[in-house]
Structure formats: structure tokens, C-alpha cells
């Protein structure tokens, strides 16, 4: 658009910089390559690839209370994880969680961004206020939600408000039917993350050229819904896709609030929590836990590949 053209014009012509420095030969750039990527690669190998390999090895062993086992059990751990129901149930829990949290956070952060964007004064103040919860830890927030807002006693905040309308005390977390625990889990995550995605949307909103709105107004588009639907939303498509992806990743990584809010349950355990209880928690079954992690890895790879196929991620600009 206009901005880009201006920039292109002012940009200095691509000079032959490389030839101006003859001392930098191939060896120098190889050295620099390793200098810059080396530490990262080393970290990657030590903290990612070795653990993955170790985990793969553990998954074929009876490894309880040890990470250096010697009883080979073949695919028993995989069979155990896939047949005992808990792990498969955890995948279901994650799906439910993602279906609830992703669209709600998307809509709420977009809504907040639109409101803050329209503000004529105190914009910076509201932007900060909505962004601040992002700085709070999930554990701390979970404890506040559990002990003061959604505590089951009559003086818990939620129960106090319901009490004004004559509603009986509700055990938000103890009783899974009706599943009120989802309300607690979803609201805490919403509070914590909506502000961050709001900032992303806000940045995107400020990037929409005002000419588009002027043109739309001249063409007779009504301000409000029509403009939003046909100008704002399409212009936000790239950001929206990125936000949805980030939200999915965040939902998949959800652990703290489930771990802190729900204790001694057989429900509400997404895969990471389930694997924690299997491998690192009280059971200390590293074999079964690793098998679960491997199954999860295969699933994630499959989903990522499919996603790339359908949404065109990873394709270069040329193919577009």
C-alpha cells in the first residue's frame, strides 16, 4: 500500500556490501554460523532431543521410581495408556477445553480491542488495565479463584452474589455434576490471557489504513456492523489466524489451573496433567508416562501436518 511504496523509494539501493569486505571469507561465515547457532543448537540437543530420545527408550521399559530401567516390556506401556481410559479421556477433556476457551478468548479480546481502540481519552490507562492480568501467575490466580471467588462456603464471592437472589450455595469445584468447574477454569484463563490478545488485535486495528473506512463510507457502508463485518474483520484476518493458533497452543499447554483447582478427581484432566500424575506425580511410572508422551507427540505431528496442508502454513510466499 501507500506506506510500503514510500518506504521502497527511500530505501537505499542494495549496494554491493559483501564485496566491500574481502577479509570475510567462507571460513569466517562458517565460524559465525556456529557462533550464533551453536549455543541454541546445543540447548536444543540437551533439553529437547536427548529427553525425547530418552523418553522413547523409557516407553518400552518398566520404569517405575527410576529413569534408568532394565526390564524391557515392549509395547505394554502403550497398551496400558490406550486401554485404561484415563489418557483417552484426557484427550477428550482437552478438546472440550479448546472448544470453549479458544472462541471465547478470541471474541472477548477482539471486543476489548475494539472498545479500547475507539476511546478518545485514557486509552493508555485502559490498555494497561486490561493487559495487567497477563503479568499474574496462573498459580496465584487459581488460588484466588479457588479460595475467595469460587469457594463453596456461603461467604465465597460467587455464592454471596447468588445468595442475594436466594440461590443455594454451590460447590463449584467439588461437585462435577453440573460441571461448574469449567466456569472456574475458563474464567480464570480468560481473565489472565484476554488482555494479551487484546494488545495483538489493537496493534492490528491501528494498522488498518483509515482510507479504507473513508472509501467505505463514501460507498455508502453504514458505520457499525456493516463496516466491521466487511472492512475491519477481513483486515484482521492474519492477526485472527495467529491469535487462534496461539490460543490453541496455550490451551494445549494448560496445566496450572487444572492442577491447582481440581484435586483428587478423575475428570477435568487434560493430557499434560494426566501425564504429570502418571509419570511425575505420586505414581512415578515413567514408562507409561513416556508412552503417553510419545502418543501425544505423534498426534501433535499429525495435527500440525494436516493444519499446514489445509491452512497453507509453511508454504513460501512464492506459492501464494
Amino acid at each position: 500500500m501507500s506506506t510500503t511504496t514510500t518506504r521502497d523509494v527511500t530505501r537505499p539501493a542494495p549496494a554491493k556490501v559483501s564485496k566491500a569486505k574481502p577479509r570475510r571469507g567462507v571460513r569466517g561465515s562458517t565460524f559465525n554460523f556456529w557462533l550464533f547457532t551453536g549455543p541454541f543448537l546445543l540447548g536444543l540437543v540437551i533439553f529437547v532431543y536427548i529427553p525425547i530420545g530418552w523418553s522413547l527408550w523409557l516407553s518400552f521399559f518398566e520404569a517405575r521410581y527410576t529413569v534408568t530401567p532394565n526390564t524391557f516390556v515392549g509395547f505394554d506401556n502403550y497398551k496400558q495408556m490406550l486401554t485404561n481410559g484415563d489418557f483417552v479421556g484426557a484427550l477428550g477433556t482437552f478438546t472440550v477445553f479448546a472448544i470453549i476457551i479458544v472462541p471465547i478468548t478470541w471474541a472477548l479480546s477482539l471486543g476489548l480491542a475494539l472498545m479500547v481502540h475507539r476511546l478518545r481519552f485514557m486509552k493508555a490507562f485502559f490498555r494497561s488495565v486490561f493487559f495487567l492480568p497477563t503479568a499474574c501467575s496462573f498459580v496465584a490466580a487459581s488460588l484466588i479463584w479457588k479460595m475467595s471467588i469460587f469457594s463453596g462456603v456461603r461467604f465465597g464471592l460467587a455464592n454471596t452474589i447468588l445468595g442475594w437472589f436466594g440461590v443455594e450455595n454451590i460447590a463449584w469445584l467439588a461437585n462435577p455434576s453440573p460441571p461448574w468447574y469449567w466456569l472456574v477454569i475458563v474464567t480464570v484463563r480468560l481473565w489472565l490471557q484476554a488482555g494479551f490478545y487484546m494488545i495483538l488485535f489493537l496493534a492490528a486495528l491501528q494498522n488498518i489504513p483509515p482510507e479504507l473506512y473513508e472509501a467505505a463510507a463514501i460507498d455508502g457502508a453504514k458505520p457499525g456492523w456493516q463496516t466491521f463485518r466487511h472492512i475491519t474483520l477481513p483486515q484482521l484476518r492474519a492477526t485472527s489466524t495467529a491469535v487462534v493458533l496461539l490460543l490453541l497452543v496455550a490451551a494445549y499447554q494448560a496445566f496450572d489451573e487444572f492442577f491447582n483447582l481440581l484435586a483428587k478427581t478423575t475428570w477435568g484432566r487434560p493430557p499434560l496433567v494426566e501425564l504429570y500424575y502418571t509419570a511425575l506425580g505420586e505414581d512415578q511410572d515413567y514408562g507409561a508416562g513416556s508412552a503417553g508422551a510419545m502418543i501425544l507427540t505423534v498426534l501433535i505431528c499429525t495435527v500440525t501436518l494436516l493444519q499446514g496442508k489445509f491452512m497453507g502454513f509453511g508454504r513460501g510466499d512464492e506459492t501464494k
Binding site: T66, N84, A171, A174, K264, Q284
Partner: protein
């Protein structure tokens, strides 16, 4: 235009910086602070793990005892939070494993060679220990831990509230359910069994005339009586007479002291705080019988000291355990009686414990001896979890008890097969 684009640039760079900071913050959080202090001048250092006791002064007391030990510089890790087991178990796999730790007797720790036998330090004073405490720590003739304290768990109740509602002390589980019903008012719930209700699971099984495992280490909890008791528990759970999602869990006296409930499942450790707050308005009774012909039940929990057999200095660790938990009787007495109330496992200390000789503490000790049952060392963590899941499924989720017990059977049998073949 140019002003606007530079503005955009600013925002982007700020955003990028923010995200970079967030990523860096995530990495920084991984940094390790093991809380271990380095060894003293002699280089001899030990680390001990304790779960966080709720009573005031306990942490200071443990550190005070440790400081008095001349043989080594003992660092104490006071593990807060509800998942002491997880933290202990994962720490035991690492190079930063504690040399001594408190825990309950569990067979898998012994089978995997994690804890050292302590016969040589216990045998000279074996007769001075409560025989049940020796038995619950013995595998194949070897004793694997030194009991520090016995903690009987039973029901505490507000006498005035029961009187006002015209309720007698419940003698059966059904009477307990009725009492909870009658005691529930707008302000007060009738009964508090803990937030996730798993802390009464042994007592429930025992009071239904069953046991976790029988003498030949087969499942003994899966009976019709236990299923019936679970069904009654489910009824109580859905009745609205139970205190649920309380700010503090069953092990904390707050629920009873603050008047949130009329009856609460708790341990003897909380008795001093309750007595101080409620005076004479406090009574106790065991978990009532849940099947005809069955006895009431009291769960004698407690904590023991274990020595990490894979630690760097096993002999020194044993020396420390012997010094503190065998020799230093004044500290053992202080630990059992000065903060919360615990029944001393040493007969000689129990005999001289005047604080437990009269009034309500004496009643507690009577429940401990009359109805108390101890941990079964063959009942390991995976089985504990399986039985806790029965409570979650059958009581909180509403799954048919028989079906929930079947699910547990599979897990427990898998574990039993691994342990006993």
C-alpha cells in the same frame, strides 16, 4: 503518513520486546533453587525433607533440633503445598535427593532399594516402640523407618450444636447422615469430610467390615458392604448437608472453629487449637460402623523418618536419625506434644505424656488404642490413588459404586502383580 508509520514501528518494537521479555521470563523460571545450603566447614552436610505441618512453631522446632546435631550441617526443606509425595518422589531420582525424609511406610520404596533398613539403630530400643508401629514398618524381618509420631484421625464435633439440634453422637453411618441433615442450617453445614472426601476412605472401608488387602495380599476392599457405604456417601454428598469447597481442608481445624460445620473429620494434631478456640464445646467420636457387626474405625496415620539408601552419606544419615529420633527423647516429646497433639510411638514417652492423660486428649488416645488401625505397608501409592479415584467416581461423580470398584480392582491388581508376582 510517515509519522503514522513510525508510530507503527514503535508499537511493533514494543510488542516484540514484550514478547521477548515474556519468553525470557519463562526461561528464567526454570532456574534451579534447590534450597540446599552448602556443607559446613567439615564439608559434612545432610538434607532432610519435611511436609509443611500446619501448627505454629513446627518448622522452627525441626530446624532447632537439626542445629543441635554435631555430626553434620543439616539443611531442612519444608515442602509446602498438598503434593509432598510428588515432590519427594521426583527429588529422590535426582542428585539433589534428600538424605533423610519423612514419609509413610510403602513397599515400593523398599522394593526399589530406595530406603535403607534401620534394624541396627532400632533393635536396641525395639521394645520401647508401639508394636503396631514396628509391624507396619517391617518387611521380611527388616525394619525400614523410625516412627516419629502417630496421628489418629476421627470426628470432632461441637457439643452445643448437637444438643441444640437434639442429635446424639452417631453410632452408625446412617445416623451420621441423619445427624448431618438435622445439623444443617442456613449458616452451618452439618458435616465436613474434607474437600475431596478421600481422607476418610480407609475408615470407610474398615467401618464397613472390610480391609484394603487381606493377609495374602489380595483385594479385600471390594465388598457389597463397602459399595453400600459408598452409596450412602453419595447420598450425603448430593444432599447439601456437607461442607464442600471450604477454604481450608480437613486437616486444618478452621472449618469447625469458624463455625462452618458442626462435625468435622480431622486429626488429633488439631486438638490444641480446637480446644483453645472452643473450650469445652468439643467432643470426638470414631468413624461409625457402616455395616452390621462391624466396628467403628479410627485411622492411625503418622509420619516416620526414612534414610535414603542411595544418598551420598548413608551412615551419617543413619547416625542423625538415631541421634534425633532414637536418643533425643526430650526432642521427641517436644515434637509430639508441644505443637499439635500426636501420640508418641515410644512407650516410655507415651507413659510420661501428662498432656494426653486427661480430658479430651485422653479420649483421643482411647480411640487410638480401641479402634485405631495402622497403615498397611503393602498398600502402595498406586493403590492409594486407585482407592481415591473410587471416592471421586462413586461419590462425587455418581458412577455406580460396584463399577467404580471394578475400575480400581484393575489398577490395584496390576500393582499387586508387579509387587508380588
Amino acid at each position: 503518513m510517515s509519522a503514522m508509520s513510525s508510530n507503527n514501528w514503535d508499537r511493533r518494537s514494543i510488542l516484540r520486546a514484550t514478547m521477548g521479555l515474556a519468553a525470557a521470563g519463562g526461561l528464567a523460571a526454570c532456574g534451579g533453587n534447590t534450597g540446599r545450603s552448602e556443607g559446613g566447614a567439615s564439608g559434612k552436610a545432610l538434607t532432610q525433607y519435611f511436609h509443611a505441618y500446619g501448627e505454629a512453631g513446627t518448622q522452627e522446632a525441626i530446624k532447632r533440633y537439626a542445629k543441635d546435631f554435631d555430626g553434620a550441617n543439616v539443611a531442612t526443606q519444608w515442602i509446602t503445598g498438598s503434593n509432598f509425595e510428588s515432590k519427594l518422589f521426583s527429588a529422590l531420582l535426582t542428585g539433589n535427593a534428600p538424605d533423610v525424609f519423612e514419609f509413610h511406610p510403602q513397599l515400593q520404596l523398599i522394593k526399589s532399594g530406595q530406603v535403607a533398613p534401620l534394624d541396627d539403630i532400632i533393635n536396641p530400643v525395639k521394645d520401647d516402640f508401639n508394636p503396631a508401629d514396628i509391624k507396619s514398618h517391617t518387611v521380611d524381618g527388616k525394619i525400614y523407618g523410625v516412627r516419629m509420631i502417630d496421628d489418629p484421625q476421627f470426628f470432632f464435633y461441637r457439643k452445643s450444636m448437637l444438643e441444640k439440634a437434639g442429635v446424639d453422637v452417631p453410632q452408625t453411618l446412617e445416623e451420621l447422615a441423619e445427624a448431618a441433615d438435622k445439623l444443617t442450617t442456613d449458616k452451618v453445614k452439618g458435616l465436613f469430610l474434607g474437600n475431596n472426601m478421600v481422607s476418610t476412605n480407609y475408615a470407610l472401608v474398615w467401618a464397613a467390615g472390610a480391609d484394603q488387602l487381606n493377609a495374602s495380599n489380595e483385594i479385600a476392599y471390594h465388598t457389597d458392604e463397602v459399595a453400600a457405604a459408598l452409596r450412602l456417601y453419595r447420598k450425603m454428598f448430593t444432599s447439601g448437608h456437607l461442607l464442600l469447597d471450604a477454604p481450608a481442608d480437613y486437616w486444618d481445624p478452621s472449618a469447625l472453629v469458624q463455625g462452618l460445620t458442626a462435625i468435622q473429620w480431622c486429626g488429633m494434631w488439631a486438638m490444641p487449637v480446637m480446644q483453645k478456640a472452643l473450650g469445652d464445646d468439643l467432643g470426638i467420636f470414631p468413624f461409625p460402623a457402616a455395616a452390621s457387626g462391624a466396628k467403628p474405625a479410627v485411622y492411625n496415620g503418622g509420619w516416620s523418618m526414612f534414610v535414603n539408601a542411595k544418598g551420598k552419606n548413608v551412615d551419617l544419615a543413619k547416625e542423625y536419625v538415631k541421634w534425633l529420633w532414637i536418643d533425643q527423647k526430650k526432642y521427641q516429646e517436644d515434637w509430639a506434644l508441644s505443637y499439635g497433639f500426636h501420640v508418641p510411638p515410644r512407650v516410655s514417652i507415651a507413659e510420661s505424656a501428662d498432656k494426653l492423660k486427661s480430658g479430651l486428649p485422653a479420649e483421643g488416645v482411647k480411640l487410638f488404642t480401641d479402634y485405631g488401625r495402622f497403615d498397611n505397608i503393602n498398600w502402595t501409592q498406586a493403590m492409594i490413588t486407585a482407592l481415591e479415584e473410587v471416592i471421586a467416581d462413586a461419590v462425587r461423580k455418581g458412577v455406580d459404586p460396584q463399577k467404580a470398584l471394578d475400575t480400581a480392582d484393575k489398577k490395584v491388581n496390576r500393582e499387586l502383580k508387579k509387587l508380588f508376582g
